[in-house]
Symmetry: none
Amino acid sequence: MLNHTELQLLTDAHVFDDMTDKQIKIYTAAIEVFAEKGYLNASTKEIAAKADVAEGNIFSKFTNKRGLLNAIIEPVAKSIFPETLSSFTDSEPIPKDLSLHEFVDSLVKDRMDFLEDNQDVLKIFISEMVYDDQVRQQYLSKFPDAYWHTINDNLNLLKATHKMVNWDNWEIMQIMWSLIGGMVISFIFFHIQPTDKAVNHAVAALVKALNPRL
Amino acid sequence: MLNHTELQLLTDAHVFDDMTDKQIKIYTAAIEVFAEKGYLNASTKEIAAKADVAEGNIFSKFTNKRGLLNAIIEPVAKSIFPETLSSFTDSEPIPKDLSLHEFVDSLVKDRMDFLEDNQDVLKIFISEMVYDDQVRQQYLSKFPDAYWHTINDNLNLLKATHKMVNWDNWEIMQIMWSLIGGMVISFIFFHIQPTDKAVNHAVAALVKALNPRL
Amino acid sequence: MLNHTELQLLTDAHVFDDMTDKQIKIYTAAIEVFAEKGYLNASTKEIAAKADVAEGNIFSKFTNKRGLLNAIIEPVAKSIFPETLSSFTDSEPIPKDLSLHEFVDSLVKDRMDFLEDNQDVLKIFISEMVYDDQVRQQYLSKFPDAYWHTINDNLNLLKATHKMVNWDNWEIMQIMWSLIGGMVISFIFFHIQPTDKAVNHAVAALVKALNPRL
Amino acid sequence: MLNHTELQLLTDAHVFDDMTDKQIKIYTAAIEVFAEKGYLNASTKEIAAKADVAEGNIFSKFTNKRGLLNAIIEPVAKSIFPETLSSFTDSEPIPKDLSLHEFVDSLVKDRMDFLEDNQDVLKIFISEMVYDDQVRQQYLSKFPDAYWHTINDNLNLLKATHKMVNWDNWEIMQIMWSLIGGMVISFIFFHIQPTDKAVNHAVAALVKALNPRL
DNA sequence: CATGAATGAGATTTCATTCAT
DNA sequence: GATGAATGAAATCTCATTCAT
C-alpha cells in the first residue's frame, strides 16, 4: 500500500482529479507493482488483481500498459526539477541577499522531503530513465526550458554577488545534483536512510565546494 | 561494435580464455544488444542474429539468458570498486605524505578512464542494479570486504594527518562516489562527455568539500 | 473422439463444472492425444489444434502441460480404488453372509465396467504411473487410508467366516488385482476385449485360488 | 551401476560379443539412465557423460537414440517369453508325468529369477511397451511363433492328463502371466520385493485356480 | 460500461543429430 | 575413429491486448 503522504501528494497535484474510482485503484496498484518488480516484469494481470478490477479496465482507461506507466511518470517528471525552486519564485521572489548556504540548504532539504514523499514513483521514474531510451528522450526534452531559467537566475545572482565559484552553471548543477542524486539512489535502491547529520554534511560539502574564496 | 579498448580489457581479464570464436561473438554481441535495449528488452534471437550464430549456442555455453548476463556483469562488478585504489596499494604503497588533492585526483581520473573503457558494460551493470533486486543483492555482498579495507585505510590516514574533514568514512565515500557517479550517469545515459575542465572542477570541488580547514 | 459413456462419467464427477466450452474442448482433446501418443510425446500445439483453440488457452486454465495431465488423472486416480467396494459400503452394508464368489464376482465385474467406461483415461493414468516416478509417489500416497480400511474389513470378514484362505491381506489383494490388472492391460494396450467367458473364468479362478478348503 | 548379475547375464547372452569397449560403456550407461528417467526423459548428453564418452559416439555406434533403445530392449524381448520353458525343452524334454504344481512352480520361480537379474532392462522394456505403440507392435509380432508352440504343448499335455482345467490356453496363460506380471510390476515400480512366502502363495493360488477337480 | 475468456505472437530453452577438426 | 561445438526445429509458456457477452 502506498503511504498516506504519497497519496496525499498525488491528490495535491490534482493527479486524481479527472479519474474515476477504478482508475485511481489501477493507478495506485500500478505504482506499487511497478516499484516492486519494475515495469517490464510487472504484468497487467497482477496490477488488475491488486487493484481488484478486471484486466480490461486497464486498457479502456489507460490505452496501454505504457500509457499507465506514462500516467504515473509524468507528474514526477514535472515536479522533479521544475518545482525545485518554486519556493523562491512563486510565493516570495528570490531574496537579493540570498546566501550560498541558504540556497544550497533549501534546495537539498526540499529535495530530501520530495524523496521521502515520492519513493515509489521516483523509483519507477529512475528505473525507466535508466532502462528505456525512449523514456529518456521523452522526459529530457521537458526539463530545460522552464527549469533552466529559474536556476540560471539563481546561480547568476550568486555568482554576481561573489557568493559562488565562477564555474559553468551546468557544472555547478551537476555537482549539486550529483550529491542529491547520490543520496536518492542510496535510499531508494539500497535502503540507506539519509540521516540529518549526513544531509547536513552534504550541504556543508556543497557550500565549501562552491565557495569562491578557496 | 565494441571499440578496441573495451575488447582489449576483456581479453586482459582472461574473459575469453575458454571460449570458442562463436562464443566470443555471442558475448560481444550480447554486450551491444543489452547495452542498447536493456537485458529484458533484448531477445536471445536478436543476440544470436547479431553474432551470426545459431540461437542454441547461447545456451550450451552460458546455460541461460541470465547466465550470459552474469558472464558480462561479473568482470565489471569485480573491477568497479576493488581495483579502484590498486594503483596505490599494489605497485607502490600509499605514500605517507599523500595529499588530499593527489588522492581525490587519482581516484576520480582513474574511474573516468575506467568509464571511458567500459561504457557498454557499465551501462548494463548499472541498469541491472537499478532494475533487478536480485542483481543488487548479488553484487552488493561482494564489495565490502576487500574494498572497504583499502579505502578505510586511505581515509583514516588522511584524517590522521589532518588533511581531510573528520566525517564518517561512509559519508565521505558517498560524497566522492556521488560526484563520480554523477559524471558516469551523465555520460552513459545522456551522452555528456566529461570534459577535462569539468573533471578538474569536480576534483577541485571535492578537495574543497573535504578540506578540514574550512 | 471420446465415447459418450466416458464423457458422461466426467460430467457426473463435476469435472466440467467450472470450465468454459473451450476448456472442455481442450480437456477432451488432451485425453485423446495423451492416450494416443503418451504425455511426453503429445505437444500442447497438437492438443490446441485438435481442440480448435488457441494454444494459450491451455495455460490460462491448466497452468501447465502437467496441470492439464493432473486435471485428467486426478478423477480416475480417486475412483480407481476407493469407489471399488462402495457398492457394498454406501447403499447397502456388507452382508454378513457374503459369499466369496459374490465378493470376487462383484469386485471383478465392477472394475470391468469401470474399465469399459474409462479406457483412455486409464491408459493415461497407467502410462504415467509406469513412466514417471513423481506421478507414482503422488498417487500412491492417496490410496491407502480410505481404501485399505474398507477392503481389509471385507477380507477379514471372509476369513473369519472361513470363506477365504488365511493369507496376508496384502497377498490376497495382490492376487486379485493382478488378475484384474492383467485383463485391463490386455484390453488397453493390446486391444484384447475381455469376453464374458474370460471374465467368468477369471472369477472362477480367483474363487478357487482363495478357497480355504483346498 | 548395474549389478554384477545383470552384467553377467548380458555377457551370457552374447550381447557384448561384437561391441567395442566404448559401445559397452554406452550400452550399460544407457540402461541405467533409461531405467532411472525413462527413454524420453533421458538425454543422449547425460548418457554420454555417464559413459565417459563423447556424445557423437552414441550415433556412430547405434545410429540413433532409438537404435540404442532397441539394442537394449531386443535381448530382453527375446528372453522374456521364449526362454521361459527352455529348462524343459532344451536339456531335458518335458516329462510325461509333469504335475501341475511342478509346471507352475518352475514357471513362476524361473521368471522371478529372471526378474531379479534384469530389473533395469525389464523396467525399460515395460515402460516402452506401455508408452509407445510402435514398440508394442514391434515386439508383439515376435512372441507368438516360437513361444506359443512350446507353451501350448505343455498346456495341452496337462489338460490331456486331466491335471489342468479345460479352459482356452489363452485364458490360462493370461491368468498365469497376470499373477507373474503383478509381482513384477509391484517389484519394479513399487519396490515391493516378492518374498518366498508370497511367491509360494502365488504358486499355490495358481495351482488351485487351474486345478480341474474343483 | 465491465468483464475476463480468448488470442497468438514471441520469448526462452532443450536436445538429437551432424560434421569439421 | 573420436570429439564436442554447432545447429535449428520444436516445445512450453507468458502476456498485452481484444472483444463478445
